[in-house]
Symmetry: C2
Subunit: 220 residues, 2 copies
DNA sequence: AAAAAAATTTAGATTAACCTAAAAATTGAT
DNA sequence: ATCAATTTTTAGGTTAATCTAAATTTTTTT
């Protein structure tokens, strides 16, 4: 039997919330992420456990099974490949593609995913810097730094974002911060903990702590 | 409020069954096409009428309203554009794309449809020769002939198919009959009403009446 | 114009995914 | 260790889309 959109969304969210350590995810955390009530989550958990997609013992939180993990990663693969398509081929901005990909990620055909992947040239990362699982389901999270962990004077390369909200991405666009650009922390301003950051070889701007916390970078 | 996948499918099917004359469609015809029971169709018709998408009087069949027609044509536009994408960009065969397009046609974003249309170069016809409605919702069915209406000795161009079943399309592939190719009726065989047809400037084959009835062609 | 047949609608259920309110279990704080 | 707070589950409903069986309306045939 096929998994419904709803089931796929639960699995994807459990994957995201359990992190790389595969920790237990709580009912309330799922209720929050799915915008439903805890009672509804409990119903769905019973169903997913029934189907062998999660490990679930009452009152103890959930983890994905091997089989649930496979489904979740496949959905993530499709989501990210479609985002690449939308940006690279159709010319959408990185701030416009998430919601459309939320729909496209549920299109079923495996044949389609593999052809799309070829058409796009087997991209390794999506437009937000997130890694794309390969066809076998291998997903390796690169370990980037958060900009707040970078010392004054260091030059780093912008590799991804933690916040995917359109408003955040548009803010980065206005600041001229794009994937791959070089950032240098000139100083940390005492007053509001903002950073003065040189972007590429262009001007230096104040970057709020809020923004720095959501920027993933790499030393070079 | 948004229309569900199910509602969109009903509207699309009502459009197809009512033909270019916009005739009334019966409950049973819809039950057949949707693979549901007549009682279920009646429920849905009440809902669609409620939403102003169809004209419906009990026991009298249904027609689309202006508003229902707009929705139906938009779904058809998306279906056919996605089919072009799958064949032209991803390299699928014309026999492989219908079921995938049945899913893709329900992706909501108007912005996406318009960008896809541009990316594909504003195609006028889908891989089966069916016309693609324009962005304003204009859909003009070209009036092709059916191959059975072509006289012996006439040369015609193959323009489309009436049957979209993969097995039929694969049969045409094996016979070398593709969209745009030239066909000449050499004779009609008395025994089984099959036609001897020359395909392009290649060999002459027997084409069964069953096949001829499903081929759309144009005089030249 | 009846009667018979066919088509359609109504009545009453079912399933998935949600809800609120109440009960039960776990966790945390004295 | 006990009590209070928090979390989670259970109980009992709702809505959309389906179903079967029965009732009703329309159509066709005698
Ligand atoms: Mn996304
Ligand atoms: Mn992304
Ligand atoms: Mn099709
Ligand atoms: Mn088609």
């Amino acid at each position: 039997m096929q998994n419904s959109f709803t089931e796929e969304n639960y699995l994807k969210i459990i994957h995201a919330l359990s992190g790389r350590e595969g920790l237990e995810v709580s009912t309330n955390a799922l209720a929050e992420s799915t915008s439903t009530r805890a009672a509804s989550v409990t119903d769905m958990l019973r169903k997913l456990a029934e189907k062998g997609l999660i490990h679930y013992k009452k009152y103890q939180g959930v983890r994905l099974t091997e089989s649930g993990e496979k489904v979740a990663i496949n959905v993530i693969r499709k989501h990210r490949l479609w985002e690449v398509f939308l940006v690279e081929k159709l010319g959408f901005g990185w701030d416009e593609v998430h919601d459309i990909a939320e729909e496209l990620e549920h299109i079923a055909s495996d044949h389609l995913v593999e052809r799309l992947d070829s058409f796009l040239g087997h991209p390794r990362f999506d437009p937000h810097g997130d890694p794309i699982p390969d066809a076998k389901g291998n997903l390796t999270e690169p370990d980037y730094l958060i900009l707040t962990d970078v010392a004054i004077g260091e030059k780093v390369r912008m590799m991804g974002v933690l916040d995917h909200a359109p408003s955040f991405l548009q803010h980065l666009d206005r600041a001229g911060i794009t994937l791959g650009c070089i950032l240098e922390i000139k100083e940390i301003n005492e007053y509001d903990k903002s950073a003065s950051v040189q972007i590429g070889d262009k001007q230096t701007l104040f970057i709020s702590l809020e923004v720095s916390k959501n920027l993933l970078v790499q030393r070079r």
